[in-house]
Every structure is written in structure tokens, then in C-alpha cells.
């Protein structure tokens, strides 16, 4: 049995600065049984209950994002990172808990209470998401212009000329050749498709950008250019980002704070340099020692 004592630091952001706050979020898939909680979690080393087969994707997850901050989420496959991101993207409904959003110090809104229409509008106006696999974020039969227009139409943009101009502007920003606005995604390389996804995600000037393993599977020089692009966007637009990755190197480059997930639980949260140089939890130590 490993002994691990959580230290008593308060892992939050300065109160007036937060834009997104996740409170006690839970998500499971399956029937659940009375023994689920004893049989799952990081100490048991599994997120599925061996008795009833329920998968506990997120258990009591808490986090805060400050405006303009990049927060890294690391953990192995199946740790619940993507489910958490999908709940924040309002694509998966949590079992319980709250997701508070607050723009410019205004009153906070609980996003889990939005109806389907409100959630879709919020997602298209305030959030942008980039996936590891471009076919999840893009409609592969639409042109680049069509993909960006789709997001803008859902964000209630109506003027064709403005949509077209915004698309060109985004292609320049993401270092895509604007003359290829009418080309379809399958004609682009993997690295370019990630840029197209980023362009689409940024289309409606969202407050928060969600990034799900976006450089996995790309070769290193392409990875570096994508990360440089994100760094530039973060500097220029002060956009808030939630960066999910199993690669500590990616997180080190972009995020100043990092949370570590395992079997649906947050096992450690801290400053990225602290997570890398003084990891407290056994799992984080394993993760850091496994880095190439």
C-alpha cells in the first residue's frame, strides 16, 4: 500500500480572475453498484468496477481556469481526460456537479443547467475544440470555407461576405494558404488539418479553446509548428486554453499549471515546473520518469 498525503495548499486561482470553474464533477457509464467506489480509483488502479462493469470516467473533479491561462491535463489513456473535456464542451452531460462560466467578472452561469438549444449556442459562440482526429472536428465533405462557415452560422453569423472574409483572416492566422479556401479536408496533410481545426475552433472568437491530444500522431517538426502557432495565438489573443495531452513535453511548452488524472480522479495539481521537478503522487513520478 502506497502512502500518499495530499498537502494542504489551496490549488485555485485568485478569486476574481477565474473564467471557468468545475465543481465536484462526476460522470459514469454503466449501472453502478454498492461496491463501485471501493473497487475503482487510483489506489485500485482501475476505473471500471469489476463487479458491475461500470466505468467511472470522472470522480469529484474540481478545477479553475483563469482568464488567458493555459491549463494542462495529463494522464494515461482512460484516465478520464477526454470525458472531462467533453463535459466542459457541453457534449456530455455530467451525473452531478457544476460547470461555472463567468465572463469579465460578471455573474457566473452554471452551464450544466442549459437546455440543448442554449448549450449548442454557448458551445458555438464561447467555446472552440480541436481533436486529435481531424474527422471529429471537421466535416470532411465540406470545403475549408464551408467548415469555418458551419461554425459561424451556428454562432448566428449571417452575412456571406463577412463569413468569407473571416475565414480568409483565420487561414492567414493559422498559416494556411488562403487560396485553398475551397479545397476539401482530404486534400490536406495531417499537420494542415490540425491548423484547419484550429481555424474553425477560433472562428467565433471563443473565450475558451479546448485541445484534445492535438499533436499526437504528428511528426515532431509538424508538432513543433502547431505548438508554436498555439503559443502565438495565446500571446496575441490572451485566449484561455485547456490542453489535454499524455505528453509532458507538450504540456511543459504551453501550460504553467497542470493537473494529473488517473482512473477518473485528479491525483495531483500544481505548477507545471513543480509537477515535473517535484512530483508528489506515485503516479506522477511514474509519468515523469517515463518521459522520453
Amino acid at each position: 500500500m502506497l502512502h500518499f498525503v495530499l498537502n494542504d495548499r489551496v490549488n485555485n486561482v485568485i478569486d476574481e480572475d477565474w473564467i471557468l470553474r468545475v465543481d465536484h464533477l462526476y460522470k459514469h457509464f454503466g449501472p453502478t453498484c454498492a461496491d463501485c467506489h471501493q473497487l475503482t480509483g487510483p489506489t485500485q488502479g482501475r476505473s471500471h468496477c469489476p463487479r458491475c462493469g461500470t466505468v467511472w470516467a470522472c470522480v469529484d473533479v474540481n478545477l479553475q481556469l483563469a482568464k488567458g491561462e493555459v491549463l494542462g491535463i495529463v494522464g494515461e489513456s482512460g484516465s478520464g481526460k477526454s470525458t472531462l473535456l467533453q463535459m466542459i464542451h457541453l457534449a456530455v452531460q455530467p451525473d452531478r456537479g457544476h460547470i461555472w462560466y463567468r465572463a469579465n467578472g460578471e455573474t457566473a452561469h452554471d452551464l450544466t443547467t442549459l437546455n440543448r438549444y442554449e448549450a449548442r449556442l454557448f458551445r458555438n459562440t464561447h467555446l472552440g475544440i480541436v481533436y486529435q482526429r481531424p474527422e471529429l472536428g471537421l466535416n470532411m465533405r465540406f470545403s475549408i470555407g464551408g467548415n469555418v462557415a458551419e461554425k459561424l452560422l451556428l454562432a448566428e453569423w449571417r452575412h456571406f461576405g463577412r463569413i468569407r472574409a473571416r475565414t480568409t483572416e483565420l487561414m492567414v492566422k493559422t498559416e494556411l494558404p488562403p487560396e485553398r479556401i475551397d479545397d476539401e479536408p482530404p486534400t490536406f496533410s495531417g499537420g494542415m488539418l490540425q491548423r484547419v481545426q484550429i481555424a474553425k475552433a477560433l472562428a467565433s472568437r471563443p473565450a475558451i479553446l479546448l485541445l484534445d491530444e492535438i499533436t499526437s500522431g504528428l511528426d515532431v517538426s509538424v508538432q513543433a509548428r502547431i505548438l508554436d502557432l498555439l503559443r502565438r495565438i495565446q500571446w496575441e489573443d490572451r485566449i484561455t486554453m485547456l490542453l489535454v495531452s499524455h505528453d509532458l513535453g507538450v504540456v511543459r511548452q504551453l501550460a504553467r499549471r497542470t493537473i494529473v488524472m488517473k482512473n477518473g480522479h485528479i491525483v495531483e495539481a500544481g505548477l507545471t515546473d513543480q509537477i515535473l521537478e517535484d512530483p508528489q503522487h506515485p503516479y506522477t513520478q511514474l509519468l515523469v520518469s517515463s518521459a522520453l
Binding site: 495548499r9 485555485n12 508554436d228 505548477l271 517535484d278 508528489q280 503522487h281 506515485p282
Partner: protein
């Protein structure tokens, strides 16, 4: 006068979960203080925990017990051991600088942008920041032809100068320097000592870790080492 930083009975251990859970304790019951404008030099044998003290103050390491009281302009007197992560990030931007022994930068960023980065983080506009950055590169004796190149390609001494420039440029109130004069020739060492003295003159408190007692040590206000 109240000290700017007061380290009180600090203990830092590492539990190596992957190696049978053994614990090593490099910092045992350390207490020290430093006032504004003062230069405290920490010396001692390698492996005694000198750098660990600096990293606990900067919160790259989480200390086990004790207090690290810092008189912040923005937050008042706070314990850096327990302060929220975001408070630490604010302090790193504005009030506390750290110069590690090794420069760790992206290989695709120019020397000029590398040295300016702390100013960009403070929200300074690029033109003003670059102007100040150029002054520092000039002062540190980095050849103009190298400014657009990545410091990764530089010699050890040049990298160390960029590293120091990054720490000084933001004008922090507390500056933590880990072996600042190691790998520097006599001329550059002289420049670095002048930089430290100028920062002290502006009220910056400095804690340096160094073996260079004859060089840097001669200019420190006080020296501190471990009780053995």
C-alpha cells in the same frame, strides 16, 4: 526593518515512490532571512541542498514544513510554501525571479525574444520590450549577429548570460541565482557582479548559491552555510 524574505525552520524531503518509497531529506530545519537591497550567499558542499532551498522559495519544490514568509507588494506578507498556485504565478511575473544553473529554452525562439519573454508576460508591448531587451544583450556583451539566433546554439558562457538577463530584466524584488558565475570568464563575471550590485542598489534582495567565495563571495553582504 522587516526582512523581505524570512525562511523559518524549512524542511524539504523527497519520497521516491518508484524506489521502495524511500525518503531523502536534503533540507533540514533551515532558517534564514534577507532584506531588501541585501545579497545573501549560500555556500556548502555539492548535494547539501543549496539549490533545493532556492527551489522551495520559488515553489518549484513543495516544502514539507516550516514557513517561507515573503513581503509581497501585491499580496502583503504571505507564506510561499502554502500560497495558491496562481498567487505564485503572479509573484513570478512581478516580484520573484529565478535564474537556474542551466538555460532551458525553445530552440526556435531568438535570443532577443528569449530575453524579452518576462517583459511580454508582464504585458509590455513588443516594441518597448525589445528595446529594453537589446539594451540588456548589449550590456551582457552578446554580439549583435547572435540576437536573431536561438541561445541553444550559443556557448555555455553566452547561454548563462542570456539566462541571467532573463532573470534581471523583469526587475524582481527578490532574485534567486543558482551558481550565477559558474562557467563565466573573468570579464563576464565582472559584468554579472556589477549587475547584481546595480539591482541591489535598486532595492532588490538577492540570494545566490555559489562555490565562488573568492569572486562572488567577496561582494555578498552575508554568507550562509549549513550546520554540519
Amino acid at each position: 526593518m522587516q526582512p523581505l524574505l524570512e525562511v523559518d525552520h524549512l524542511v524539504k524531503s523527497f519520497t521516491l515512490h518508484l524506489i521502495d518509497g524511500r525518503t531523502i531529506t536534503p533540507v533540514r530545519d533551515v532558517s534564514l532571512t534577507v532584506h531588501a537591497g541585501e545579497h545573501l550567499l549560500i555556500y556548502g558542499r555539492s548535494g547539501m541542498g543549496k539549490t533545493s532551498i532556492l527551489k522551495c522559495i520559488y515553489r518549484t519544490y513543495i516544502a514539507d514544513s516550516g514557513h517561507i514568509w515573503f513581503s509581497s507588494q501585491q499580496f502583503g506578507r504571505i507564506d510561499l510554501r502554502l500560497a495558491a498556485d496562481d498567487v505564485i504565478l503572479h509573484l513570478r511575473e512581478r516580484e520573484i525571479g529565478f535564474c537556474s544553473q542551466f538555460l532551458r529554452v525553445l530552440p526556435r525562439v531568438s535570443a532577443l525574444d528569449t530575453i524579452c519573454e518576462p517583459l511580454y508576460r508582464q504585458g509590455m508591448d513588443r516594441t518597448t520590450a525589445r528595446h529594453i531587451g537589446q539594451e540588456w544583450l548589449e550590456r551582457l556583451g552578446i554580439a549583435r549577429s547572435l540576437w536573431p539566433a536561438s541561445p541553444i546554439t550559443f556557448s555555455g558562457g553566452e547561454q548563462q548570460r542570456i539566462n541571467l538577463g532573463r532573470a534581471f530584466i523583469a526587475r524582481p524584488r527578490l532574485l534567486l541565482l543558482d551558481e550565477p558565475t559558474a562557467s563565466l570568464d573573468e570579464g563576464t563575471k565582472r559584468i554579472v557582479i556589477e549587475m547584481i550590485q546595480a539591482a541591489q542598489h535598486d532595492g532588490t534582495a538577492i540570494i545566490s548559491v555559489s562555490h565562488d567565495l573568492a569572486g562572488l563571495g567577496a561582494y555578498a553582504d552575508r554568507k550562509w552555510t549549513f550546520n554540519e
